[in-house]
């Protein structure tokens, strides 16, 4: 292990605690500044309706809701650290349990979707840059722009309409069928069946970024002298691009993928809501619609933590592959 790598890792890890403090303050601030009555926020409208004024006062005392902000913040932080993230009134279970239950589904969807998206963007970008300036390039470029300007939910609706309603090839919602088959082979097939549509929508919706990036960086790389050498050697265009130009473009491409880490967690909100995919995104949507404040705060905190972790890993991956980063 290179000394510089270790130094870089240490530096990055040192940046995390203040960040954690920051997001805890941010989350608490949103909670504190919101005009919602804190007791209502903690218990949910439905429960509060049924309680008597004495009960409500008792709960207020217990949670310390009438104390100054910094005291409440410390209290809340303590509870969080002990695993008490509050109670979700729409799911009737502790917030942390609900979130932990749901986030694997999101990861499955987003990892599949965004990997496909990177793949798709890369393939199309390569095709485009190899034939730069031709009709194919213009068509792909144009399509790319149009898709980039289309809201993801519209793409999702379109996909659902065509593949689910009209053609009936794929299911339109949920992660599993109602009567999910029990044998593992059929079960996996059922899962894939349900995964295809939402993952493809994510893929198509996000590929624009990758496409443009790869295309322009390959085009620039093609200006370099070693390309002329490669051509002089007798390689054809495709081999030139794939064998040489792409190598130098790949690194920043990976950096770009690293920038997409927050999307892995939050980017699927719309797609999950439309396809009723039981992940964090849909959870956020349900919580927002029915004003489940504890759940919303829990999701904010949790997703921030995941993003920080993800960014750390992505940065480490970059540092491993590109030594220049370590001296940043």
């Amino acid at each position: 292990m290179d000394r510089s790598l270790v130094r870089y890792a240490t530096k990055r890890i040192m940046q995390i605690p203040p960040l954690l403090l920051g997001i805890s303050i941010l989350t608490f601030l949103i909670f504190y500044l919101s005009p919602v009555n804190p007791t209502v926020a903690y218990l949910g409208l439905v429960t509060v309706q049924k309680m008597s004024p004495e009960d409500l006062d008792r709960v207020e005392e217990q949670l310390g809701l009438n104390q100054p902000a910094h005291v409440r913040y410390i209290g809340w932080l303590e509870r969080i650290a002990h695993g008490d993230w509050g109670y979700s009134h729409i799911k009737k279970r502790p917030v942390l349990d609900v979130i932990m239950e749901r986030f694997p589904a999101t990861l499955l969807l987003t990892i599949t979707g965004y990997s496909l998206s990177a793949l798709l963007g890369m393939m199309l970008g390569v095709i485009s840059s190899v034939r730069a300036g031709s009709r194919i390039d213009s068509i792909l470029n144009g399509l790319n722009y149009i898709i980039y300007s289309t809201p993801t939910f519209l793409l999702a609706l379109l996909a659902m309409l065509v593949f689910s309603v009209w053609l009936g090839w794929l299911p339109s919602s949920r992660m599993l069928s109602v009567n999910a088959p029990t044998s593992s082979w059929l079960l996996m097939q059922d899962r894939i069946h349900h995964l295809i549509l939402p993952a493809s929508v994510l893929a198509v919706g996000h590929m624009a970024v990758f496409y443009t990036y790869i295309r322009s960086s390959i085009i620039e790389a093609m200006q370099e002298d070693y390309i002329i050498t490669a051509r002089a050697k007798g390689l054809n265009e495709v081999e030139v691009v794939l064998g040489h130009a792409i190598r130098n473009s790949l690194l920043p491409f990976i950096t770009q993928m690293g920038l997409s880490v927050p999307l892995l967690i939050g980017g699927s909100v719309v797609v999950e809501s439309i396809f009723a995919w039981p992940g964090i995104g849909k959870l956020t949507y349900d919580a927002a619609l029915r004003a489940d404040y504890m759940l919303l705060m829990g999701i904010t905190l949790f997703s921030s933590l995941l993003v920080i972790l993800g960014n750390l890993l992505a940065d480490m991956a970059c540092a491993l592959t590109d030594p220049r980063v370590r001296y940043d």
């Binding site: 309680m51 109602v178 004003a291």
Partner: protein, 532 residues
């Protein structure tokens, strides 16, 4: 190059696998799948007004009596019963050999326990219908199979109250009903047993092998929660689900679908515009009448309800035995305008809105943002009233917020309706003694001593002819006073798989009809259904 080839191959294989037809689960006839739009908060069967509209859980329990397909009392836990000549005492003869789902024997003590819970008024927050049971003066167990109830007054409609689901004393005695887990894992004596509830996913019941009556033919009932209506429709079409409730306007989307029938069942559900009688300008009767004349109900029925239902001029449908045909009030905007003019409303400042004494005739209406029917009705009414010079501002809020503090003394689209005895719901809604209570009753804060008198009289009169007179008088007074502007009776529409037999639609009360919930018209006899 090679890597790309490999990747392409992988993708193609995955796609190929994915489009293979799925195997159908075996034993399909033994299982009924229903897609619900809204997940229940808990499985408390008495959480509403006490007539068991909660068909997702009611089959777990049984009551002393139940309602048959003509809405008449039929035996359930009680094999037979007698009513004393003065109408105050009910004696029930119980069946033998009833067991709870956990194997414990059922006894008359469970009946006493349940009714006392409601009668004591201690648990009103858990059982909102508790106040109804205060009419019971005494309950006595004469012997292990005979129970007597004595009422304070001879209330005709009370026999329907005996369908109250009986709760297990051996589990609930001494427990804090607000905190107990029992509402998440119920145990009853009914034809179906609770199996599991995956929150946010599904709710499963299985037929009770020890059921004292006829065993249900369908072995498993599974409810799946799918909030989006188009998703529910797709599930029905693909055969994954056997029954759903749909919005009235979605009937076209199921036309021509294989193996699916659309069933439009008339219900007692009526919608009205709530006008808080104690607030200006609704404290003037002319204003309320004018608003009622100004709304084109036929158009609302035709477009928002797809013509499925009928115009409502009062809380009773045309087919009800008690309906008063003389109260029909047509859509008459001219009359509305003259009523307002006579009441002293003129447009003095030329802004298009009528005013009087310096106050403009405008107010806010709160509608539930996730309910498309009520939202659309609100928009339609706003347009109709605008033509009169009345300005109605629309505010959208979530249903939870509305039920928390908004419904009382606010203009909202309310809905009620009961096919049972005319006393049911009407006694509470038009009676001034319910004003200001912590419940949904009489949200209009309507107060008319003559009506109060009629309601008291009607509930204790046994002679059918006399009752008809009384309630017809009630209807004409309500039509005059217009405490709320009655709008529409709507049907409830279901999409059902053709493989189901045994469905017998009957009139049902207002219930969780919105957002794909299930109400009584179809589900009341789900234990008698069969599926191929």
């Amino acid at each position: 190059m090679k890597t790309i080839n490999f990747l392409v191959a992988v993708v193609l294989i995955a796609l190929f696998m994915a489009t293979l037809p799925l195997a159908v689960a075996e034993d399909a006839g033994k299982m009924l799948n229903i897609a619900l739009g809204k997940e229940p908060d808990d499985l408390n069967p008495i959480a509403g007004t006490g007539h068991g509209e909660f068909y997702d859980v009611i089959k777990v329990y049984s009551g002393l009596l139940k309602s048959d397909d003509k809405l008449q009392a039929a035996p359930d836990i009680a094999e037979s019963w007698d009513i004393s000549p003065d109408g105050r005492t009910y004696t029930f003869h119980l069946r033998e050999g009833i067991k709870w789902h956990d194997g414990t024997a059922f006894t008359a003590d469970d009946i006493l326990f349940t009714y006392e819970l409601l009668r004591s008024g201690e648990w009103t927050s858990v059982f909102p219908a508790s106040s109804e049971y205060e009419a019971i003066k005494d309950i006595s167990i004469l012997d292990p199979h005979t129970v007597t109830f004595t009422l304070n007054d001879p209330i005709v409609a009370f026999i329907e109250r005996f369908s109250l689901p009986i709760l297990p004393r051996h589990i609930l005695e001494g427990q804090d009903l607000l905190k107990t887990d029992f509402w998440q894992e119920p145990i009853g004596t009914g034809p179906y047993k609770f199996v599991s509830w995956n929150k946010g996913e599904d709710l499963t019941f299985q037929s009770n092998p020890d059921f004292y009556g006829e065993a249900p033919r369908i072995g498993t009932l599974k409810y799946v929660f799918v909030p989006d209506e188009s998703a529910r429709i797709n599930l029905l079409k693909s055969g994954e689900v056997d029954a759903i409730k749909i919005d009235l306007r979605s009937t076209e989307s199921l036309k021509g679908a294989n193996g699916v029938t659309v069933n439009s069942a008339p219900s007692a559900n009526w919608y009205a515009l709530n006008m808080p009688n104690r607030m200006w300008p609704f404290n003037m009767r002319e204003v309320r009448q004018a608003i009622s004349y100004a709304i084109d109900k036929q158009q609302i029925l035709d477009t928002i309800f797809n013509g499925q239902g009928e115009i409502s001029y009062g809380p009773f449908r045309q087919e009800d035995w008690i309906y008063n045909p003389d109260i029909v009030a047509a859509f008459d905007p001219e009359r509305a305008k003259s009523l307002l003019a006579d009441a002293g409303f003129k447009d003095t400042d030329g802004d298009g809105i009528l005013d009087k004494d310096g106050k403009s005739l405008e107010f806010e209406l709160v509608y539930p943002s996730d309910n498309s029917e009520r939202k659309d009705i609100s928009i339609a009414i706003k347009t109709d009233l605008a033509k009169m010079g009345i300005n109605m501002e629309l505010v959208g809020k979530s249903w939870d917020e509305i039920s928390y503090d908004v419904f009382r003394d606010n203009v909202i689209i309310m809905a009620w309706g009961s096919p049972f005895d005319p006393d049911d719901q009407n006694y509470q809604n038009w009676n001034s003694k319910f004003i200001g209570k912590e419940s949904w009753w009489n949200a209009a804060s309507y107060s008319n001593p003559e009506v109060d008198g009629l309601l008291e009289e009607g509930r204790t009169t046994f002679d059918k002819e006399k009752r008809k007179e009384i309630y017809q008088k009630l209807q004409s007074i309500l039509a005059e006073d217009q405490p709320v502007a009655f709008l529409i009776f709507s049907n409830y529409v279901y999409g059902l798989s053709d493989r189901i037999t045994g469905i017998k639609p009957r009139n049902a009360p207002h219930g969780q009809g919105n957002n794909g919930g299930i109400t009584g018209e179809i589900w009341w006899n789900v234990e008698e259904w069969q599926k191929e």
